[in-house]
Symmetry: C2
Subunit: 330 residues, 2 copies
Amino acid sequence: MRAAVVHDGHIVIEQRPVPSPGSHEVLVQIAAAGVNRADLMQRLGFYPAPPGSPADIPGLEFAGTVAELGPEVSAVAVGDRVFGVVGGGAQAQYLCVHETHCAIVPDTLDFITAGGVPEAFVTAHDAMVTQAAVQPNDWVLIHAIGSGVGTTALQLARAFNANVIGTARTAAKLEQCTSLGLAHGIVAPSDDAGRLDVNALNEAVRAIAPNGTDIALDLVGGPYLEAEIACAAQHGRIVLIGTLAGGRTSFDILATMQKFLTIRGTVLRPRNVADKAAATAAFVRDVVPLLAAGAVAPIIESVMPLAEAEQAYDLLGTDTTFGKIVLDCS
Amino acid sequence: MRAAVVHDGHIVIEQRPVPSPGSHEVLVQIAAAGVNRADLMQRLGFYPAPPGSPADIPGLEFAGTVAELGPEVSAVAVGDRVFGVVGGGAQAQYLCVHETHCAIVPDTLDFITAGGVPEAFVTAHDAMVTQAAVQPNDWVLIHAIGSGVGTTALQLARAFNANVIGTARTAAKLEQCTSLGLAHGIVAPSDDAGRLDVNALNEAVRAIAPNGTDIALDLVGGPYLEAEIACAAQHGRIVLIGTLAGGRTSFDILATMQKFLTIRGTVLRPRNVADKAAATAAFVRDVVPLLAAGAVAPIIESVMPLAEAEQAYDLLGTDTTFGKIVLDCS
């Protein structure tokens, strides 16, 4: 089979043997696989694949057709259209996946669209629902609202009847989100040093939600966590899922106590089999029906053939995209 | 009635009118009231009483006899021996308390002992059980193990079959905790600047619990939070309940994500009526039976008459005490 392979800081297409499914695994013929920021880190050699995943084939999400079953598989059948998240290996023609990590693709979704769904939707749903227990009328603060997880969280929050405040670095990104129902957008304010102005952001948030935000999804890290604590309402929940702006920041212990805040860190890729199965089951329960009904949908920016994986990574790396880049692996 | 009153940075004893209970309140004739660090802050003027509490009479915990009922009270009766936590006002001869904030004192506890129970036991139980969901065989890291909340958390953790690692600034404090069942004590290591040495503490913890700690109760704040994140096991829970060593610190977002940590801030005093009632109900359910059976008990360092409240505060402020200072208000 053809596979996208990390080689010396680049992605090259190589021939690899088709893998054989383990006892509870299925072999999936991949139709489409989204590109994610973690892939860029893996290309640079900074983010080795977790145990059990192919060491040098990136790809954290897949959509395709079940081609072969391991001997103990009972949850899916040959020919099923499936999609899901994996620890790696999806940017290839075939992939072995644990049966509990496969969700059935709704008939209304084509494979390319389905290939851009799992990573962002499982991440956003896990963060906002499983970790932060979103409630109707909650105020949800989403930074990097124009990112794949950001636009997804926006749609899911609205489907759960929560109110969203989104931030982005440019007004253009916010403008693109208005068609997804973003009513409250803030261009992230900077101080003279170009650093996030926490007080100005808090003032802008309070002008919209005077009592503060019940949930913050932090896809950015660094000083954004300071802003989330400042903006938080009593009993607020903050979910940390990205560190693009830095892995360390100053932390206000006193405010965290006085507001009874809960701050939770989470990451999808290195989860064990049982935890990924639980996240998949929650996705099937809550999100797949919304996808089937068209109430939520991935934003696909660009579709490129697997052979152009390197160019797809480069495009994502420009930070100019809005929505997902999906590789056509057929 | 006589009451301890904050006056210009000091505590003086004044005559005040006996308060009248509201519809769901009871008038308690106070027998004993513990002294807490928050009282010292209130004496200094840094920590105003929460709404609904006497503005200038400190005292966050009481034990006494129900003397009079508000018109709607059904949970307790005149003559009941009760104890509990309040937002202030306990260091006096009488106090009005919401009926849902009163727990019945077990027959096996005298009033002086009971007066040293509520604040530390409700705080420690709420943090370790309600917030951090302690499980049998969990490793629990407790800083300031010799403090009132520390010795209480130690006893409760053992009653819940968890393993405790305690830290203190002196070996003498650790030694005093061995009689309470502390098997693993660490003198908090300092670097050359006298600051907590986070790496050395982590190494000492890992020598005892190689996979790290499941729960940390942070009564200290400042750099201790850094150490708790470094020491945490996967899916660890950290509960922030004190800031003696500082209200800000550097925060490791990446480790919080990669270990799936939950960090929760909490404080007892300003909670609303319903939240205090819930904490009291959990205390009645889990802790009062242990107190009645003698499985846990407050450590009483010293008993002083209400008239000597100022001296009691001064004694607590020396940082040399082990266990509670209780005022005899009879």
